[in-house]
């Protein structure tokens, strides 16, 4: 009886120690994972911001103006009828 109790106690002690070690290792592992995902999210956010920046830049009139200037397309489109109404009225 005494030996059963003693063995059980040793067993429980070993089990608790193992569980404790497992929880400690698991929490370290999860902590590492959280850290990794936090860094990943930050990097993704920055990448997203950088991509948005590029999209907005390409969408801007400033970019269109600089592009047209680099292509020597600087003459503005002006409807002819504006100064010569005969074209508008087909005279």
């Amino acid at each position: 009886m005494k030996s059963i109790f003693k063995n059980s106690l040793i067993g429980i002690f070993i089990l608790l120690a193992a569980a404790n070690i497992y929880l400690f290792v698991a929490s370290m592992y999860i902590g590492d994972e959280i850290n990794k995902y936090e860094s990943h999210i930050t990097a993704l956010k920055q990448e997203n911001t950088d991509l948005e920046h590029e999209v907005y830049e390409v969408e801007s009139l400033q970019y269109a103006a600089s592009l047209s200037a680099s292509l020597h397309f600087t003459k503005q489109v002006q409807p002819v009828y504006f100064e010569n109404m005969k074209y508008a009225f087909n005279r």
């Binding site: 929880l23 698991a26 929490s27 370290m28 999860i30 902590g31 590492d32 959280i34 850290n35 920055q46 911001t49 950088d50 948005e52 920046h53 907005y56 830049e57 969408e59 801007s60 009139l61 400033q62 970019y63 002006q78 409807p79 504006f82 100064e83 010569n84 109404m85 508008a88």
Partner: protein, 550 residues
């Protein structure tokens, strides 16, 4: 045996010490995990600003600040050369900052992602980067005064200043979140410890009434005009007269919003809302409309323009000192007759004249949603001299802001409604959107009077000084103005403020525009400076809005 007992005793003592220490840390010590608990503020993302077509005018970006811990840099000389080459700057610029005696030095801020990657690829020890969240304006300074900028306050927090960024700072700024987390020595979260997170509430996005194409046209044409007429500065506002939504607003010179700190504070001032000026002849239609509304005059009322008018010790003349005898009041507006306006003022009477000035909203703020609006209170009636009643009829002796002027003028052509001008059309908070509706403050004149004054203003353009500027086939209404600038209580004849206010098309005006040019050198007249700029803008807008000839 003694040795074993000693060992047992030693372990017992050690266990008791550990238990006592744990008891102290976990029970007695206040806030036991404070040494591991880190509290971090999670900044809210500032809201974006869009134009009416949902094109971005302001958004966020991350720039990087390169810093070094010089004592940890293995070879300073090689680091100098490599960093300078990667950033395409002089070596001396880097070496001047890389001070070996210091523990931490900032080397360069405002770096882009690609520059950061280039530095990281060098794999130099002792270097690091700090994120610098900043504002990005894809259209550059196209709408600098309208949008304002984001700077820092005394607590190093981002704060919006001037324009939309200033007026809607709280909406755009949002609410920061909070992160409470137990962390170990190398900043890893302790899973079994405290882990709390309150998400930030990001700022609201704003959709403006501004059309970036209109804004671009306005700024481009205003700049060309200011350069052409060698003016000191200038402003142009384009609005929808039926809603008083601002479609475009530019004042020059302006500033670079991303490098606002390189500019003097004077450049931040948006003259369209923060400056007062004497409107001159552009004020005449207000008095004319008031006279028609009160039934004391009609557009075809005959006025005998025989010569200058004397009031007390003052003599009032026409701008060119020529007099045409019997003329209608429509003709008086066409030729911008000051003496005819004094007649209208007399017919209207002092009380009604002052009453209408108040009704048009002069002397009060328009409450436009931009930071920095000013207004000059109207003088008390007891302070008005007879000459003041006469000169105010042709826009001298009264100061108004450009935004007051365009708002009041819009009421003349939209059927008589005085509206509150606004720049923000919609506030978006996640999935919810709040539309800003036009707000009518009061009815100033009737629809009939509005139609009559519109016809007179069309006639003014068709037969007045600016008739050659009008695009053929199109009816445009408007009025020029040239006001001398008061300096030390006297008018300086050599310095004028030229302006033009106009609208198109006539039946249902699509836009109203005000152009002000301060101290033009090539000509002092509004008809030769501000009016051509307005017509340049109007021609582009007529094409943009597909306005057909009338």
């Amino acid at each position: 045996m003694t040795k074993l007992r000693f060992l047992l005793f030693f372990f017992l003592v050690m266990y008791v010490v550990i238990i006592l220490r744990l008891f102290y840390l976990q029970v007695l010590k206040e806030n036991p995990s404070s040494e591991y608990l880190t509290t971090r503020r999670i900044p809210a993302a500032r809201g974006n600003i869009f134009d009416r077509t949902n094109q971005t005018l302001a958004t966020n970006q991350v720039e990087y600040k390169l810093f070094a811990e010089p004592k940890k840099v293995s070879d300073i000389e090689i680091a100098n050369i490599k960093i300078a080459r990667a950033l395409n700057v002089e070596e001396s610029t880097i070496s001047a900052r890389l001070d070996k005696t210091k523990d931490w030095v900032a080397i360069m801020g405002g770096l882009s992602r690609s520059q950061k990657d280039a530095i990281e690829a060098l794999k130099l020890s002792g270097l690091g980067f700090d994120d610098e969240p900043t504002r990005y304006y894809p259209e550059g300074s196209t709408a600098a005064h309208l949008i304002g900028f984001v700077g820092k306050n005394s607590e190093d927090e981002s704060v919006g200043y001037f324009g939309i960024e200033g007026f809607y700072d709280q909406d755009l700024g949002g609410l920061p979140g909070l992160m409470r987390s137990d962390r170990d020595l190398i900043n890893r979260p302790i899973f079994l410890g405290t882990q709390e997170k309150i998400d930030p509430e990001n700022g609201r996005d704003l959709v403006l009434s501004i059309d970036k194409t209109v804004q671009d046209i306005v700024k481009k044409k205003l700049k060309e005009g200011i350069d052409k007429y060698h003016a000191k500065d200038g402003c142009a506002i384009i609005a929808d007269p039926d809603t008083m939504e601002i479609l475009g607003l530019s004042c020059l010179p302006d500033f670079d919003q991303e490098k606002y700190y390189d500019f003097n504070e004077q450049y931040y001032k948006n003259s369209a809302i923060s400056s007062l000026y004497e409107p001159g002849s552009t004020f005449k239609p207000f008095i004319m409309a008031a006279g028609i509304e009160e039934g004391v005059i009609r557009p075809d009322t005959i006025y005998h323009e025989k010569g200058p008018v004397t009031i007390g010790e003052y003599t009032i003349k026409t701008w060119n000192n020529t007099y045409e005898g019997d003329i209608t009041l429509t003709r008086a507006l066409e030729k911008s007759s000051n003496v005819a306006m004094t007649y209208v003022g007399e017919k209207l009477g002092k009380d009604k004249l002052l009453g209408y000035l108040k009704s048009y909203g002069f002397g009060e703020l328009t409450h436009i949603d931009l930071q920095g609006e000013v207004a000059n209170a109207l003088k008390q009636q007891k302070d008005w001299y007879p000459i003041d009643y006469a000169t105010v009829t042709f826009g001298q002796g009264i100061t108004v802001s450009p935004i007051q002027m365009i708002r009041a003028f819009a009421s003349l052509i939209n059927g008589g409604n005085l509206l509150e001008p606004h720049v923000v059309k919609k506030l978006i908070n996640g999935q919810q959107a709040k539309e800003i509706q036009p707000h009518v403050i009061r009815k100033v004149i009737s629809k009939e009077t509005s139609d009559k004054i519109k016809t007179m203003l069309v006639s003014t353009i068709a037969n007045g000084e600016t008739k050659y500027l009008r695009p053929e086939g199109y009816a445009i209404g408007g009025k020029t103005g040239t006001a001398q600038i008061a300096i030390s209580g006297h008018y300086d004849a050599s310095k004028t403020l030229a302006s033009f206010i106009g609208f198109s098309p006539i039946k249902h005006p699509k836009f109203i525009g005000l152009v002000i040019v301060n101290e033009p050198k090539t000509s002092q007249w509004g008809s030769e400076t501000a009016a051509p700029i307005f017509f340049q803008i109007a021609k582009e807008l007529i094409v943009y809005y597909n306005v057909t000839p009338e």
